[in-house]
């Protein structure tokens, strides 16, 4: 046995030597980013791509924007198990706030809200999925933090300002503040900022607790509902959303305490500024549209507006003027298409989380800056 191990080690060492010698001529492989990204795509596109790169003029087909347009589909990383944000409805459609932002991006880039392939990712999977470029964008209730910003990808503007909260079953646990939970067992999902905040918060308060950590979102809430934990912690929006799926939602109360800032936003892979700009401005355009009063019902009328701000956003060129070029590399009327297909921020919010829905979440911080919220889009000019 030991001899076979020795020979395996020998081969590995040999391989190391071979690669070490072959390190310098590496540049030959460095011009294949498109090809290696393609390895993770469906075979249909990967057969086309090499021809494309081998073609005499490969200059513009470099970035992810071109890649997505070539593929004709946006690969959007979502949660998939979070009602209100992204969740399969009765007809098998991915619906929710995050899913709608995926559709908005697809409409802006491809002109078709249905040209999205949703990838359901667990909290642990989402970082690597971005780093390897498996998804074009991650819109998966992901909190913006400095280490994620540097390691995972570029965070776009926050689409949902959230805060961490704690939920308890009021029939079993009598608690109104975090201090009342001293000694409790708390269910939390791993690979989340909430897992870290929980530890920070409780050690700051000097309270003992036992974490019960699950890798997936469903077991986390199932174990809590079964009574394995005294409390469960996550973003307030997520607690509200998951509570609606409980057997007796009224028994579960969310404590007032806000344990952290949780700005949730879209994330684009590192190192592609052009694509990152597109992601950013799609979000800004939904906010700007709400501020300007443009929604999916009146977007056609608004196109006839004399207001130059609205004209620029909707890509309308007044007679005798130079067409406005945003520089994003999208069609001039992308925002108009997007608003008519998906709607402005308020429509997306109300459709998925607003008073008409089970969740009935207050807009709160997620109101326009003009209404005391934090949504503020830079000028589109």
């Amino acid at each position: 046995m030991s001899r076979s191990i020795l020979s395996i080690i020998g081969v590995v060492v040999l391989a190391m030597v071979v690669t070490a010698c072959g390190d310098t001529p590496a540049p030959t492989t460095s011009d294949a980013p498109g090809a290696s990204v393609d390895a993770s795509e469906p075979p249909a596109t990967s057969t086309e791509a090499p021809e494309e790169t081998a073609a005499p003029e490969p200059a513009p087909t470099d970035g992810r924007l071109a890649l997505v347009q070539e593929r004709g589909q946006l690969i959007c990383g979502v949660n998939g198990s979070l009602p209100g944000f992204s969740f399969l409805d009765d007809s098998g459609e991915n619906t929710g706030f995050d899913a709608d932002f995926c559709r908005a991006l697809a409409t802006a880039v491809l002109g078709d809200p249905e040209a999205v392939e949703f990838r359901a990712l667990s909290a642990d999977q989402r970082g690597p999925a971005l780093q390897t470029g498996e998804v074009d964008v991650l819109i998966r209730n992901t909190t913006w933090t400095v280490s994620r910003d540097t390691a995972w990808g570029l965070f776009g503007p926050t689409i949902f300002y959230d805060g961490q909260a704690m939920m308890v079953n009021s029939t079993l646990v009598d608690a109104t503040t975090l201090e009342d939970l001293a000694g409790a067992t708390i269910c939390v999902q791993s690979g989340t900022t909430t897992e870290l905040n929980l530890t920070d918060q409780f050690s700051t308060l000097g309270i003992d607790f036992t974490p019960q950590v699950f890798a997936d979102i469903d077991p986390t809430y199932a174990a809590y509902e079964e009574g394995r934990c005294d409390a469960v912690t996550s973003d307030r929006s997520q607690l509200v959303a998951r509570r609606t799926a409980f057997e007796s939602p009224d028994e579960h109360v969310i404590l007032e305490a806000v344990m952290s800032k949780e700005p949730l936003g879209p994330v684009a892979p590192l190192g592609d500024d052009e694509w990152f700009n597109v992601v950013k401005w799609v979000v800004f355009a939904t906010i700007e549209a709400e501020e300007l009063g443009i929604d999916s019902t009146n977007v056609e009328e608004m196109a006839g507006s004399e207001n130059p701000v609205i004209q620029r956003l909707l890509g309308v060129t007044p007679e005798g003027a130079e067409p406005f070029d945003s520089g994003l590399g999208l069609e001039a009327d992308w925002a108009a298409n997007m608003i008519s297909a998906v709607g402005n921020y308020a429509e997306i919010y109300n459709r998925n989380l607003g008073p008409e829905t089970l969740f009935n979440l207050e807009r709160g911080l997620n109101s326009l800056w003009t209404e005391g919220g934090l949504l503020y889009a830079p000028p589109y000019r």
């Binding site: 642990d124 390691a151 000694g183 067992t185 974490p211 890798a215 997936d216």
Partner: protein, 395 residues
């Protein structure tokens, strides 16, 4: 045909038809091909890493982990390093694997023997168990055991209370933990004296037996000494040297004592039930491979059914059982990584969290893989040593 022309012909075989040369060339070619494949993969990995801007390093191991772990055999807090968190995961994996291997072996042997039982009912139950467990995925079994069995136990308020301060509820099994009191060091010499007396009595008894004289009195005297001397010491010391730290119900849960979490229990139960079904088949095969004549000879000597199994069949079956048993042990250790599904903080689970928090999946995965590899290699090394020992005894 004279031998001379033959040898001349042999000497003139060209190298491309010489078997010895061809053998060496073949092996060299294989080594080169394998080396090139590995080199290609390493190169591909390196270029992919640099292209995506993923750093590669193990510096993060010294940084503070920042996450808590629900259960740990050593003291751990969120301010400890990633390296320590990884160690906690490793210890949890080793713990569940070790206990799992012991229990799976016991249950597996029982099942294997039961499969061959002359009793119809026992035989049918054993084979039903084997077929059901062996033909369903372990992950599914774990979910059922965890969510449908352990989490359905009574809540903390309505805990099942067993005699001796043992409590069972959906938060786990709570046992009193042994606790050493102040008088323990004084009592310890009595225990040592008892053990020494037992060993001395046994050695003397063996000597008597070799001389062909009865020794049972000496043997029982040794046992009596083992029990009596510490008992006298217990009374002499005054105040019990070993106490029990019983679990006490508090606001949310029991505190103190030994606690076995439902995650650990469910994982252990799943691994044991699953692996024991395979071990049962290995044992059955091993027993059936012992020739029928051996059993008949044992009967003819007047050995009972049990004695024949223990003294004649089993020692011979072992040499057939051990190699496949080794691979079942390896499977159990590797399957323990399914702990991630039910929230037991094992090596893989902690590794996933580390990969996520540090943004360094590749180094972490390499660490996790090489750790599992090391565990498996050590296990099979030990089992091979054991195998060699029983093989030598055989002849």
């Amino acid at each position: 045909m004279t031998p001379e022309p033959q040898s001349v012909r042999a000497a003139t075989v060209p190298p491309w038809r010489d078997v010895r040369v061809l053998n060496i060339v073949g092996q060299v070619v294989v080594i080169i091909v394998v080396g090139l494949v590995i080199a290609f993969m390493v190169r591909n990995f390196e270029s992919a890493m640099s292209e995506r801007g993923l750093g590669f390093g193990f510096n993060f191991l010294g940084r503070s982990a920042g996450f808590d772990i629900s259960e740990s055999p050593i003291s751990y807090s969120s301010t400890d390093t990633y390296g320590k968190a990884f160690l906690v995961g490793l210890l949890n994996t080793l713990f569940v694997s070790f206990v799992g291997i012991i229990l799976a072996t016991i249950l597996g042997v029982a099942v294997g023997v039961a499969r061959l039982s002359p009793n119809w009912l026992v035989r049918r139950i054993a084979s039903g168990y084997v077929e059901v467990i062996r033909n369903t995925p372990l992950l599914v079994q774990l979910f059922i055991i965890y969510f449908a069995v352990f989490l359905q136990l009574p809540s903390v308020g309505q805990s099942l209370t067993l005699p001796g301060s043992i409590f069972l509820n959906q938060r786990g099994l709570f046992l009193p933990a042994p606790q050493l009191n102040e008088s323990f060091p004084v009592w310890l010499p009595f225990v040592v004296a008892g053990v020494v007396a037992l060993i001395a009595a046994r050695m003397a008894a063996t000597r008597l037996e070799e001389a062909g004289r009865p020794s049972y009195r000496l043997r029982s005297a040794g046992l009596a000494a083992l029990l009596l001397i510490p008992a006298i010491g217990w009374i002499a010391v005054g105040g019990s040297p070993v106490g029990a730290d019983a679990p006490v119900p508090e606001r949310f849960n029991f505190v103190g004592g030994l606690a076995l979490s439902p995650e650990f229990s469910a994982l252990l139960a799943g691994l044991v039930l699953y692996t024991a079904a395979f071990i049962g088949e290995v044992v059955r095969g091993g027993i059936q491979a012992v020739r029928r004549g051996q059993v008949e000879a044992a009967r003819a000597l007047g050995l009972s059914e049990g004695q024949a199994l223990r003294l004649v069949v089993f020692p011979q079956a072992l040499r057939i059982i051990v190699p496949p048993l080794t691979s079942q042990y390896l499977n159990l250790a590797k399957n323990s990584s399914l702990a991630i599904a039910i929230g037991y903080p094992d090596l893989f689970k902690i590794g996933q969290t580390m990969a996520n928090q540090t943004g360094q999946p590749v180094p972490v995965i390499i660490m996790v893989m090489s750790t599992y590899l090391a565990i498996s290699l050590v296990t099979s090394l030990l089992m091979n040593l054991y195998n060699r020992r029983i093989q030598v005894l055989e002849r």
